[in-house]
Amino acid sequence: MDARLAPNMKTYVVVWVGMMFLVAVEVLATYARPSVGTLLATLLALALLEAGVALLYFMHLRYERRALLWWTVPLVLFALVMLDQVWPDAVRLASLRLH
């Protein structure tokens, strides 16, 4: 990262406060007692938002060359989506073995 582009501590503190806020929202959402599916979707959405903020500001992807972002993030997302497609089969196989 170019040192001239590096964010200052004030920016980091603002992002840190924002992430604390998101964690507080997660806890409050949990104790609002929604269904498991709704809670899972809510928590995942908030966690993805936090991860995005951490990648862009704490890990400086926002300040690096765009090529780094386009090289890393889509590849990992592709791997994760593929895992999402494969794991249900693994669970189903375990169920078949039980019955």
């Binding site: 964690v23 498991v36 951490a54 690096e64 090529a67 895992l83 999402d84 794991w87």
Partner: protein, 209 residues
């Protein structure tokens, strides 16, 4: 290119093509590691997610006090340690070595505190009868297996991170490593924090009583 230019730039550096990503090799290696490790944690968390939703007798082990409260405190500690690591990177870039080392000390302290709180929780749960194959509440034993498996892998990363940061700090103090290396080890630390952003809601909050 003159002979002196070749010498000054370290032999071949001036003759090499610039990296298309614009980052040094140690940082590229760290990004590759993070991508692989991210997929590993992703695999584990996906597997956990399917088991969590698909197991009918899943039990919720975590009460608001002390487990969820402890998890919240651990989250604040880990997030704060990311902030101190960023402080170390900023100080190193500005050439303030002593300030950088103080920030690194704070990061290591917070990382160690996180590990201690985590282990304390583990021992309390083991004392209650939780284990890889034991569920004192009588439901599925997968609850303990997934909890200790996922948090154990993350805890291993935290402890490794504290050690790695300490090693880099020592070499930085001796002048053998620079600000770029502080930033690279910081990348790892922020990744550990990022993973916890998924572990805390999915493993703790989703199992809150």
């Amino acid at each position: 290119m003159s002979a002196s230019e070749v010498t000054v730039t370290g032999g071949h550096a001036g003759a090499l093509e610039e990296s298309p990503l614009g980052i040094p090799s140690h940082k590229l290696a760290m990004w590759l590691f993070i991508m692989a490790d991210g997929a590993t944690f992703g695999a584990i968390l996906f597997a956990y997610g399917f088991l969590r939703v698909g197991t009918p007798d899943w039990t919720k082990p975590f009460a608001l006090w002390p487990s969820i409260a402890n998890g919240c405190i651990m989250t604040v500690i880990l997030l704060s340690s990311s902030l101190t690591m960023l402080g170390a990177g900023s100080a190193a870039r500005a050439g303030h070595a002593a300030r950088c080392l103080r920030w690194i000390g704070a990061t290591m302290l917070l990382g160690a505190l996180f590990a201690v709180l985590h282990l304390r929780e583990w021992f309390a749960m083991i004392h209650e009868g939780w284990g890889l194959k034991h569920n004192p509440l009588g439901g599925s034993t997968l609850v303990g297996a997934t909890f200790f498996g996922i948090t154990g892998l993350h805890l291993l990363h935290v402890v490794s991170g504290v050690i790695a940061i300490g090693v880099v700090a020592l070499r930085f103090r001796r002048g053998r490593l620079g600000a770029a290396h502080i930033e690279t080890v910081g990348l790892y630390w922020h990744f550990v924090d990022l993973v916890w952003m998924f572990v805390f809601p999915l493993v703790y909050l989703l199992n809150a009583r």
